[in-house]
């Protein structure tokens, strides 16, 4: 800048003030990120990716729904309306049959007719009586998180004989929306718990294998290759068969989680091993040793933190495959069993052509799976770009 100014107007000397003025825009553009912590810088880059933000918001909504599922659902997991099996979704209405607008949403009751020849059930809305929807209604009592006893549900109708199934009902007359919310408890957490275990297995084994090398390295790598070379579904089936039928559902859940994470640490371990192979040659590893650090000190204080961004991204991208694996296992009838519910268990009921033709709403859990998986993938993509300091 200074030399250009000097060329065009050789007589004008640059005073410190002019230099300050010329540098001012530069200072302003850098000043906003100077002195920010690593986390703040990552958040800044992350915010720029719209899809990642959408993914994050969708996931937050799903997880809030999961946390307060008893409150958001109008019924309990096993509340049955025996007269209302396979009822199609009842959408809240604002305009009644006469074309009048009502501020408070309402529903019409469905009347069931069974065709004598085909046994096909048809539901028609009975427009004679409106059932208004109220919020924070009293319903069946429950204990939120097993602690807070209450009976308040987010929405419902006062006539307890008439059900409100916004996503329809299943073959036992249970509310699909309620069941999806309860099912997310398993489906959304199995990914997190499983990935947590995967990270512990993968990080310890991968980093130690890369750091020490030699025989430890050979053993860990060959073992992970062995695990990865076995076809997945037969292996799942074999391992799921180990889980005793007599186990309570909660223990089955943890059994399945451990099985899934035990099978999936291989990829992470290999990536971290190769990163560690290069990191252990870095000057700071030697410097830490020269400072008197033990092997464990170097691994825990220097190698794992420097791998952290990679671990976070891999973890985010691994959650969906965990969720899909659980869904697949439950779909095959090998995973979670009733009375516990997961999206895979719900989809097991939608396993035939009849469902797809006659009761397509039973496939809603599949869309929830897709939504979650996409959410995690976008979030992971955004995070990967955000934690890489070399992206602009």
């Amino acid at each position: 800048m200074a030399s250009e100014a000097g060329l065009s107007a050789p007589d004008t000397k640059l005073s410190p003030d002019t230099v300050d003025q010329e540098l001012a825009p530069y200072a302003a553009s850098t000043a906003e990120w100077v002195g920010l912590s690593q986390g703040q810088l990552i958040w800044r880059r992350f915010r720029r990716s719209r899809m990642a933000l959408i993914g994050m918001v969708v996931l937050i909504i799903l997880y809030i729904g999961m946390l307060f599922c008893e409150f958001f659902s109008p019924y309990l997991l096993n509340t049955r309306f025996t007269d209302n099996i396979f009822e199609p979704p009842t959408l809240p209405r604002w305009v009644d049959a006469e074309g009048q607008f009502h501020l408070r949403p309402f529903i019409y009751k469905y009347d069931r007719k069974v065709n004598r020849e085909t046994l096909e059930m048809t539901y028609t809305a009975d427009t004679s009586k409106m059932y208004p929807i109220y919020f924070f209604v009293q319903g069946e009592p429950y204990k939120l998180w097993g602690i807070i006893a209450t009976n308040i549900h987010l929405y419902g109708i006062n006539d307890k004989k008439v059900p409100i199934f916004i996503w329809g009902s299943d073959r036992q007359g249970r509310d699909l929306f309620t069941r999806c919310l309860y099912g997310s408890r398993v489906s959304l957490t199995i990914g997190l718990v499983g990935v947590f275990l995967t990270i512990i297995f993968g990080t310890t084994l991968g980093v130690t294998s890369g750091y020490f090398g030699g025989r430890i390295d050979d053993f860990v790598q060959r073992f992970s290759e062995l695990l990865m070379s076995i076809p997945q579904i037969p292996l799942w089936m074999a391992l799921a068969a180990i889980v005793p039928v007599t186990w309570p559902p909660l223990r089955v859940y943890f059994g399945i989680t451990i099985i899934l994470s035990f099978l999936s640490w291989g990829g992470l371990a290999r990536q971290l091993r190769s990163k560690t192979l290069s990191l252990r040659e870095e000057g700071y590893t030697l410097a830490a040793k020269a400072g008197g650090g033990s092997d464990w000190w170097v691994i825990s204080r220097h190698l794992i933190p420097n791998n952290a961004s990679h671990i976070i991204v891999v973890a985010t991208l691994a959650v969906p495959s965990m969720i899909l694996a659980e869904t697949a296992l439950s779909f095959l009838g090998l995973g979670i069993r009733a009375p516990m519910t997961s999206w895979g268990v719900l989809l097991e009921e939608a396993q035939n052509v009849k469902t797809i033709v006659l009761n397509p709403w039973l496939l809603i859990p599949a869309f929830l799976v897709i939504l979650t998986v996409l959410g995690y993938n976008f979030l992971g993509d955004g995070l990967r770009d955000a934690v890489d300091p070399y992206t602009r």
């Binding site: 830490a288 040793k289 008197g292 933190p305």
Partner: protein
């Protein structure tokens, strides 16, 4: 058992290296990286170690830290006697296991090291303050707050501007010179009695390098530590060292006081090095050393410098390693051309 003798306060010796030999196992066989190196450093003194790449300078430094990667490196022989002032013991470092608690308590505490590349020797994941605190927390019974206090003090002493603020900077936010200062602060935070500086100014520009060398000299005067200054830059060594050891292919070929070495070099290799430095104001052709450093698996028997030596003659130089000849007070040369 490790022989332990008491160190008295008036013991001036810090480290004695005797006949150190380190071999590297490589694909072609075994390569001697260090072959019978001996030297001593006294308290408050600086030994400059010069030589070209691959002559064993850094390996000697890492041997003292007991940080050689084994394999491929292998300690074949020799002793490294360290006079540990903090506990009053005389320890042979080669007898300790590299990962033993005792060796770890020496590293970073009694013997510290400064590395060549300040940019890669700092973990990018931590602030420099946390990295200075690391050695303090590992070795001294202080809590985090005191350690941080110490880090700020050290940064102040090494001339870091705004130490209270820069203690929270990440390595990428500082320049190479600043990082080298931070690294010196980290190395000196436990007041070591021996500092191994492995080409500490190579990655820096000359102005910054001069500042860093000044700083090291100042801190040495204050703390009285011994420094082993490894460098391939004769100018740097002339500036900082009291005594110089010239290494060629794993051996110290000449060792003398710094003035003797520069004004009265004896070994043909040292002379060759002096002649290959351009002198300001003299318009003469530079006289290079003939030939190239032999491949590590083709080191000649006897005097390793023989194939390149202008004074070599088969009559005077038999194919046996030449003995060390004392040519003056504290001046030793590994050459057949001199008589004691």
């Amino acid at each position: 058992m490790i022989p332990i003798q008491p160190v008295s306060q008036d013991d001036q010796m810090v480290i004695e290296v005797k006949d150190l030999a380190v071999h590297f196992a490589v694909f072609q066989g075994r390569v001697p990286a260090v072959n019978g190196v001996s030297f001593t450093i006294e308290r408050g003194k600086t030994l400059g170690v010069v030589g070209e790449s691959g002559c064993g300078k850094s390996v000697t430094g890492l041997s003292i830290m007991h940080l050689l990667p084994t394999p491929p490196a292998e300690l074949v022989g020799g002793e490294i006697i360290f006079h540990r002032l903090s506990t009053g013991e005389v320890i042979d470092i080669t007898k300790l296991s590299p990962q033993s608690a005792e060796m770890r308590s020496i590293r970073g505490n009694d013997i510290a090291m400064i590395f060549q590349e300040p940019m890669t020797s700092m973990t990018p994941a931590y602030t420099i303050g946390e990295q200075i605190m690391e050695a303090v927390i590992l070795h001294q019974k202080v809590n985090k707050r005191e350690a941080r206090q110490r880090a700020v003090e050290m940064l102040d002493r090494v001339g870091m501007p705004q130490p209270g603020r820069n203690v929270d900077s990440y390595p990428h936010q500082l320049s190479g010179g600043m990082l080298q200062r931070a690294m010196i602060a980290a190395a000196l935070s436990c007041q070591p009695s021996l500092l191994i500086a492995d080409e500490p100014t190579t990655a820096l520009d000359v102005t910054t390098a001069a500042q860093i060398l000044d700083l090291m000299g100042q801190l040495q005067d204050e703390m009285g530590m011994a420094i082993m200054h490894v460098s391939h830059n004769l100018g740097v060594v002339a500036e900082v060292a009291n005594e110089v050891a010239v290494m060629y292919l794993g051996r110290i070929v000449e060792r003398s006081s710094v003035d003797d070495l520069f004004y009265n070099p004896k070994h043909p290799y040292t002379r060759g090095l002096m002649h290959s430095i351009p002198q300001i104001g003299q318009r003469q052709r530079l006289e290079p050393i003939r030939g190239v450093v032999p491949e590590p698996d083709a080191i000649p028997k006897g005097c390793a410098f023989a194939p390149r030596c202008p004074l070599f003659s088969p009559a005077t130089c038999p194919p046996i390693v030449p003995p060390s000849v004392t040519v003056g007070p504290g001046h030793e040369v590994l050459c057949y051309r001199y008589d004691s």
